[in-house]
């Protein structure tokens, strides 16, 4: 687990870069960078990758059928209601860029959440909103416990002779039956934790803030990469390497775009290497 600032900056930089421009090379570099960060983070890898890919592909496939723009017609079909079967290469490119942006954002965010030490992240957030930060941290910690409780309740029902119902209505009825004990169980857990916190002295006064530990060398490297990434993002926001897809897509492989994409990818890979968690 790492100090939260370096992975936060790296993830933020990749998200902003992918949103700041529609230049396909740069967005692709941001996506590859997010993938590198994602692989550097602890598991679950496959689940998050699947979510990112499905979401990205959905947008990429959907866009040509809902957008009515672009000059290079690839397929001329009819339009009815919101669906447009006239597909242009610009619509396809825009869809791919939008899908890549979404996938990059999902992968970067999940990588940050898995890389950053939750306790240090909570400490960082508590500088702004102490109670909310603690509540969120506790909720996140309790989620697996509640999932276990829910599964235990379902098992108890089976052990009393009620199996999983067939049919939507019956399944809903059965699910409804578990809501009350599940809510009661989560409230009980909440009360137990509150009591334990009071018994530990929480609420006596202001919490002492722990001094933030110094960044390790690998964290410092990732921090520098994150800062470079953010500078690149600001430069792109300022209008360097402008790119338009509609009505006609600009040329992709410009010198500036190649340089920015290479810088984005290089900093992400270096950051991922520095943040990589070893089993």
């Amino acid at each position: 687990m790492k100090a939260p600032i370096p992975p936060l900056l790296c993830a933020l930089a990749l998200i902003v870069i992918s949103l700041a421009t529609a230049q396909p090379l740069i967005v692709a570099a941001a996506l590859l960078g997010a993938l590198a960060l994602h692989h550097a983070a602890p598991p679950p890898h496959r689940l998050m990758l699947r979510i990112a890919l499905i979401s990205g592909l959905f947008i990429a496939v959907l866009n040509p059928f809902v957008a009515v723009e672009g000059d290079h017609v690839l397929f001329a079909g009819p339009s009815f209601w919101l669906i447009d079967f006239e597909i242009t290469s610009e619509e396809v490119l825009y869809g791919l860029v939008a899908g890549a942006r979404l996938a990059a954002a999902i992968l970067s965010t999940s990588a940050f959440l898995r890389l950053a030490d939750p306790d240090r992240t909570q400490a960082l957030a508590s500088r702004v909103a102490p109670r909310s930060a603690l509540t969120v941290a506790l909720s996140a910690r309790l989620a697996p416990t509640l999932r276990r409780d829910a599964s235990g309740l379902r098992e108890t029902l089976r052990l009393r002779g009620t199996g999983p119902e067939r049919g939507r209505r019956a399944a809903i009825r059965q699910g409804t039956r578990l809501i009350e004990p599940l809510v009661a169980s989560s409230l009980e857990r909440g009360i137990d934790i509150s009591e334990a916190m009071v018994a530990r002295g929480y609420g006596a006064g202001r919490l002492t803030r722990l001094p933030e530990a110094r960044l390790q060398r690998d964290e410092q490297v990732a921090l520098i990469c994150g800062v470079i990434g953010l500078v690149v993002a600001v430069v792109l926001l300022a209008g360097v390497a402008p790119y338009d897809i509609y009505p006609l897509a600009d040329p992709i492989a410009t010198r500036v775009a190649i340089v920015v994409a290479a810088l984005t990818l290089a900093t992400s890979i270096v950051a991922a290497g520095a943040l990589r968690t070893r089993p």
Binding site: M1, D117, P118, D119, Q122, L134, A137, L138, R141, P144, T145, D149, G152, L153, E155, T156, L157, R158, L159, R160, G161, T162, G163, P164, R177, L178, P181, A184, S185, E188, R189, D192, I193, S194, E195, A196, M197, V198, A199, R200, G201, Y202, G203, A204, G205, R206, L207, T208, R209, L210, P211
Partner: protein
């Protein structure tokens, strides 16, 4: 200075409720370990909560009498103020942890007490070292065992260096070895001057290291009753005909991992097996597989001549009944009676058996109460009664005596033997060797995923 002094201390949860703590006058000196012993629901936990200032401040209710804990007046002090002098360790380590990593979690206690920032991490480390838990630093708490978590929780309680330690059934979630280690640590801490009060109905686990035992009956302090050890109950010899239960090369898996390979064993009608083995060895997984809660990758389970292998848990009841670990957390109904009767009602079994089980497990006076208003031990009994109420042929019990007082442990042994005398079988997973000796005819040992069934009763 005396660590705890109370005089006629009383507490009740509501103005019209009976006193849960009734006239407790108690004195505990530094360095002393006092064991509060009593049945489930006798008021042990409530007394500890009153001493920690959690009742009535956190729970509401009405308190009377006087008490000083490490010099702090219970009538006027807030729980947070008392917390600086008296640490409180709860039964369930799951609900005591706030942070994700042990050192940070222990540090949280010190942060709450306003310790200087620059000393916190060093003090937290020292607290973990004091109880030999510093090797856990850097690991994720959600990946620790129950025993390790309880150690972290103990370190968190000890970090602010309280003068008094209050422990509410600290070993209930732990196996015998881990409980023994924890109790040994407590003795060491007491020898360093800490006053310790432990509420525990497993007298056998902590009794030998305590200085004094105080009994609690219906909220009043009394002399402790003599502990009656569990004695094996005589039963008719098992018949030699066809086995009632057969495990035929059965494999059990947890997630993707095979944990028990080709288990082959059988039980004659009236036989009870104690399933023993190391922690994490697959005992619970095997029982869950037999109950139909986990898929069976290979092999067969035959009960009363029927191959139950393809059937799910809901199709195996009432032939097979299962009480999992910590069943009190997953009760479904609004009253104890409804909970015990749920299975028999669903399956059309004889409701009279369920009523008998309510009586046998001392639950009649709680029958109309919500199970969540019952103590931990009472809830466990509710779940056990619900399993017995199905009149199963094969009864599966996973650590049934965790959190159970000695009197009800004896009742459980009697019920298991009566079940066997009626021709039923039972498999009991337990670390409690006394229980295994008292209720089982044979020992099944799970070693490295292999089931050895040749053993005599331990």
């Amino acid at each position: 200075m005396t660590a705890i002094v109370t005089n006629n201390l009383r507490f009740r949860y509501a103005a019209d409720a009976p006193w849960s703590v009734d006239g407790a006058s108690l004195q505990v000196e530094p360095g002393e370990i006092v064991l509060l012993e009593g049945e489930s629901g006798s008021g042990k936990s409530t007394l500890l909560r009153v001493l920690a200032g959690l009742a009535p401040a956190f729970h509401g209710g009405e308190a009377a009498g006087e008490g000083l804990i490490a010099g702090v007046d219970l009538r006027t002090a807030q729980p947070a103020e008392i917390a600086q002098r008296a640490g409180f360790l709860f039964q369930d380590p799951e609900t005591q942890v706030v942070m994700a990593e042990p050192l940070r979690d222990v540090a949280f206690s010190l942060q709450c007490h306003g310790a200087p920032a620059e000393t916190i991490l060093a003090s937290a480390r020292t607290a973990l070292e004091r109880i030999n838990a510093d090797h856990l630093i850097g690991r994720r708490i959600d990946q620790l065992s129950a025993g390790e978590r309880q150690r972290v929780a103990l370190a968190a309680v000890l970090a602010p260096e309280p003068a008094v330690l209050l422990l509410d059934e600290p070993t209930a979630q732990l196996d015998d070895d881990t409980a023994c280690e924890l109790v040994g640590e407590l003795r060491r801490l007491a020898d360093l001057g800490l006053a310790i009060v432990i509420a525990e109905h497993r007298h056998d686990r902590v009794g030998h290291l305590t200085d004094r035992v105080i009994g609690l009956r219906r909220g009043s302090l009394v002399s402790p009753e003599a502990t009656v050890p569990l004695t094996p109950l005589m039963s008719a010899p098992a018949s030699t005909g066809l086995p009632l239960v057969t495990l035929d090369s059965l494999t059990a898996q947890r997630g993707d991992r095979i944990v028990v390979r080709h288990a082959t064993a059988s039980l004659q009608p009236g036989q009870v097996a104690a399933l023993l083995g190391a922690n994490g060895g697959g005992k619970s997984t095997l029982l869950r597989t037999l109950a139909g809660l986990e898929p069976t990758p290979s092999g067969r389970l035959i009960v009363d001549g029927r191959d139950l292998t393809p059937a799910g848990a809901e199709s195996r009841v009432p032939l097979v009944a299962f009480v999992p670990q910590d069943p009190g957390r997953t009760l479904l109904c609004d009253t104890v009676r409804d909970e015990v009767l749920l299975g028999p009602r669903t399956l059309g079994c004889d409701l009279a058996v369920a009523e008998q089980m309510l009586a046998a497990l001392d639950l009649v006076h709680l029958a109309d109460r919500n199970p969540r208003d019952c103590s931990v031990g009472e809830r466990e009994r509710v779940a056990i009664a619900a399993a017995f109420a199905l009149s199963p042929q094969l009864l599966l019990l996973d650590e049934p005596t965790r959190g159970m007082d000695l009197a009800h442990r004896a009742t459980l042994v009697r019920l298991v033997r009566e079940h066997a005398a009626r021709g039923g079988c039972a498999i009991v997973v337990t670390h409690d060797l006394d229980l295994a000796r008292a209720c089982a005819d044979c020992r099944w040992l799970l070693v490295d995923g292999q089931l050895e069934t040749a053993g005599e009763t331990p």
